[in-house]
């Protein structure tokens, strides 16, 4: 209710002095300082942060664009972002876009409007050129490999990651290898497909498109994958799957259907979630949490102006051998 002017009036000082007290500036006589503090207390004053935002042109808010909040992949990433945001004193504004370009755009406009200081894009549907247009208004950090574009990005080398996964399965004696994708990782799924094809060529085994299972996001999708697979005459003997959740679903349904893992079906999952550990799922740890945290910390650096040019960070991956492959 009360504003700084009223505090000044009642405490018998100028607004400048009040401001100084509130911001711990030096050069305020002890008695005035006390008078101000007391009035602030008495009137239960709280500063209107919007005035500050207007004045500074900054808000200490980062916008996060993601298609769906309730999904382990983005959940973990978000967790990383949130943790880092907390550390560096930012608030997060999330926009669940469902891949609607207008929603993504809206968040970018918020940056132009100075409502947020930067944007982290976990997954998008707007074209990169379009995003670039917003470069002047604040840092945009993408969670994907974007090549030589003037935006920052944190990414995983999906190609290599996949390559290594396939090689591992091959070395274990598998030559019919399938994989699941979630589709959401749009740009990266093509990189995976490349890796899949290239490796198959290198190893001299034919590619089988019906072993690529789309729309696999969660446990239930793993369950459904197994059911789909069992209807196929020709089945893969090993799978690389999108997430620990999907792997758990597969494991569950495989058990019900009498498929032994890894004997009848080998599995590598693509993130290192607690489930994977508990269930002993062989995993390619792709550090999504780190990815989120890095994205946030890059955004922070760019906003604070420590660095001005776009930054790029590759997140390392690591195969964790357990017992499903």
């Amino acid at each position: 209710m009360a504003n700084i002017k009223e505090i000044a009036r009642i405490a018998g000082v100028s607004v400048t002095t009040v401001s100084r007290v509130l911001n711990n500036h030096p050069y305020v006589k002890e008695d005035k300082r006390r008078a101000v503090l007391e009035t602030v207390e008495r009137l239960n004053y709280s500063r209107n942060i919007n005035a500050l935002h207007l004045l500074k042109g900054r808000t200490q808010i980062i916008g996060v664009i993601l298609p769906m909040i309730n999904h382990s992949y983005f959940g973990v990433m978000m967790e990383g972002i949130a943790q880092e945001a907390l550390k560096s004193g930012y608030q997060l504004m999330v926009s669940q876009t469902s891949y609607q370009p207008e929603e993504e755009q809206r968040m970018l406009e918020m940056m132009r409007n100075k409502q947020i200081d930067g944007v982290i894009i976990c997954s998008r549907s707007l074209p990169l050129e379009h995003l670039e247009a917003y470069n002047p208004y604040g840092p945009i950090v993408l969670c994907e490999e974007i090549g030589p574009r003037p935006m920052s990005s944190v990414f995983l080398n999906h190609y290599q990651c996949f390559q290594e996964g396939i090689r591992y399965l091959w070395n274990k004696g598998h030559s019919s290898i399938g994989y699941s994708i979630s589709r959401m990782e749009g740009p990266s799924s093509s990189r995976r497909y490349e890796a899949y094809c290239d490796m198959h060529e290198e190893l001299g085994i034919p590619v089988n498109p019906s072993w690529i299972y789309d729309h696999c996001l969660d446990i239930e999708d793993g369950v459904l994958l197994v059911r789909r697979m069992l209807e196929q005459a020709d089945r893969p003997s090993a799978l690389i799957v999108t997430s620990g959740q999907v792997a758990a679903g597969i494991l569950l349904e495989a058990g019900r259907q009498g498929l032994r893992v890894p004997e009848d079906l080998a599995l590598i999952s693509f993130d290192n979630m607690p489930i994977s550990e508990v269930l002993g799922i062989t995993t390619m740890d792709n550090g999504i949490y780190t990815m989120g945290a890095s994205a946030m910390s890059i955004a922070d650096e760019l906003i604070r102006g420590t660095t001005s040019s776009p930054m790029t960070k590759e997140i390392p991956f690591q195969l964790i051998e357990r017992s499903t492959a």
Copy 2:
């Protein structure tokens, strides 16, 4: 870069006129309107929303307090909140508190600071009295039953819900019934315990505290629950579990350990997630999504001033019979 003053200068009109054009007010001659629009376009003008926030004292932002983002329970709730926020034109500011009171407090302070128009508390650790102190600054909507306190809430009748679950299992012939809790639903877990005890008394069966499994949030916890349970000499024949995720974990591990469901272990899960459907898990649909959506819509109503007194909404639940109990 450019502000409304500059637009006015260049277009040769007053700032008032520019504002009118921008807000589609009537009474602006067509030629001036065009001049303004053209200048806006040419200078790539975008209005500074912070000025508006300051002026209006409102931001169209709702703060969401939740302990962890990456958890199906809160994920679903958040999804409901987000969906409704989208509809009614709010942005969401999320704070992942990890149950740290300071973090919860920080968000409340943001409301006092006029940075957010209201707060939705999915789960909290601050005491209710403490929250009440923030009542004057905007609506606080809690996702739990709070009794006759002057705050809004959306809640589930955990007592009845649990009661019904136990009765169902009893009718199926079970007299050794256990349950899992996530602990996070702090206030509600005591209601459940009451229901558990009361029902046991009513049915004349003894309560067994070692059949209450704590810290069950996700698949892995379901897996671990089964392992814990198998170490017990005296085991429950039926379980009511916190979520579809946990149920899936139990199902998975039960299968591995040779426990048949529902013959050796009956299961009722406590939310109706896709997994539950795919896996045929008997479920008490507790409408968490609806809970989130309702919380948001109540917040909206209170902010818009449609209603001024606190609102309360009980979310209905419904038992969905499938094949695990």
